[in-house]
Subunit: 251 residues, 2 copies
């Protein structure tokens, strides 16, 4: 089999945040596969076939990509952000493990990208500048009780926390339930940032004290960054405050 | 003040993992500031002054960068990986907060980069494909008891865990102590990956069961990825196994 499969991260939206190695993979591809809005980011050209599919069909899409690669195509599966963070890479490996043994001979590579929480953190300052965790609120892929347990332990550990998919179609109430938990466990002045469509023309950054946070501040394009107990704000005479978490914790 | 300060992430090492926006900032800079090996990655050119400093002087370096920007220079502080993940961004904001008020008028931006754990994860497969956390073992910036508490809670939460700076100069015994904790809390077959100098010619990837892990598998250029209880390996007839964490957890 001479085909190949690349699982590539397109970053959060800005074309200037795409890495050169991802751009080279897109330029060399015969087939691009992914969720409709991500495939739309790749320009049409002669010799390129684009296969756009709806959300929530990740395993079908992965099987399709592996099959095309097995047929000799140069396939690129595109994800927003980083493919290894709540995106297509795990789905492809799930399909690979369950699929025909000969697929394991394929040339398969994952190319990282700028994931949403790191783009959001950069736009805000450095809220993830100390230990942190990332939790996916979406997908019907895990029980809510586990999300609640993990979030509670993350707060006990005093991590900064990035929440992906806070208001997914499948679990729109996630962010509301999570805020209830935060109200019970954190001080009301804890900083929480809602970063929407980071690096795109639609970007909106909104940082509030936990007591002022509402579920409507998040939508499907938002990543939520919850500060640790040490996360601080630096006011500026012009422009938004910087949000950052100091590197040090005193003994 | 017409100067500017960009805090830019150079990614883990490969030039093809630098984003276009970071490259543009480097090309426009009058002054580059950072730790010696990172500054060395930026080619010399007319009109560019490079200020390389040793490790562990992050606040001095930040003050220097802010002062140069206040004098009207176009300053870029370079970090390896992502500047917001255990790198220079938080240090700059600490210096900004403590410094003269007029610094807050400066044009300051953070440009994200590919952080080591995501480059390592991509090279291995998708070990961070479910909820995960990142913990810095280094720096004398926090007490060991806090690292131990956080790591224990992270294991209880069943996060995959990325460990940065597992064998820093200031705390070379960190990884050994962490392995002791893992032995006490995790099953002996838990997968643990040691990813050294990812994306450079010196890259070495080594995944073992926890029972076979030794402190010598990590050095100062290594990021350690500890799987969750669900992290799996896919054997291949040729080449290294893929390591991945499935997206789903059953109720």
């Amino acid at each position: 089999m001479s085909g190949s499969l690349v699982i590539a991260g397109l970053g959060p939206g800005a074309e200037t945040m795409v890495t050169a190695q991802v751009q080279a993979a897109l330029d060399a591809a015969t087939d691009i596969i992914g969720y409709i809005p991500y495939v739309a980011r790749v320009p049409d050209r002669a010799g390129l076939t684009k296969h756009a599919s709806d959300n929530r069909v990740e395993i079908d899409r992965s099987n399709h990509a592996l099959q095309l690669a097995a047929e000799g195509k140069r396939v690129v599966v595109v994800s927003s952000g980083d493919p290894g963070v709540f995106a297509m890479a795990s789905a492809v490996f799930e399909a690979l493990e369950a699929g025909p043994p000969q697929w394991r001979d394929l040339d398969i590579r994952v190319l990282p990208g700028i994931t949403a929480m790191l783009a959001a953190a950069a736009a805000l300052g450095a809220p993830l500048g100390h230990d942190f965790c990332a939790i996916n609120l979406s997908d019907n892929l895990k029980p809510w009780a586990l999300i609640e347990k993990r979030s509670g332990l993350a707060i006990e550990a005093d991590f900064a926390i990035a929440l992906y998919n806070p208001r997914s179609k499948s679990r729109p109430e996630g962010v509301e339930r999570l805020l209830d938990l935060l109200h019970a466990l954190c001080e009301p002045t804890r900083l929480i940032s809602f970063a929407r469509a980071v690096s795109t023309p639609d970007q909106v950054l909104n940082t509030v004290a936990l007591k002022d946070a509402t579920p409507e501040m998040a939508d499907m394009r938002t990543v939520v960054l919850i500060g640790s107990s040490a996360t601080r704000s630096i006011a500026r005479p012009k422009g938004a405050s910087f949000i950052y978490t100091p590197r040090s914790v005193s003994p």
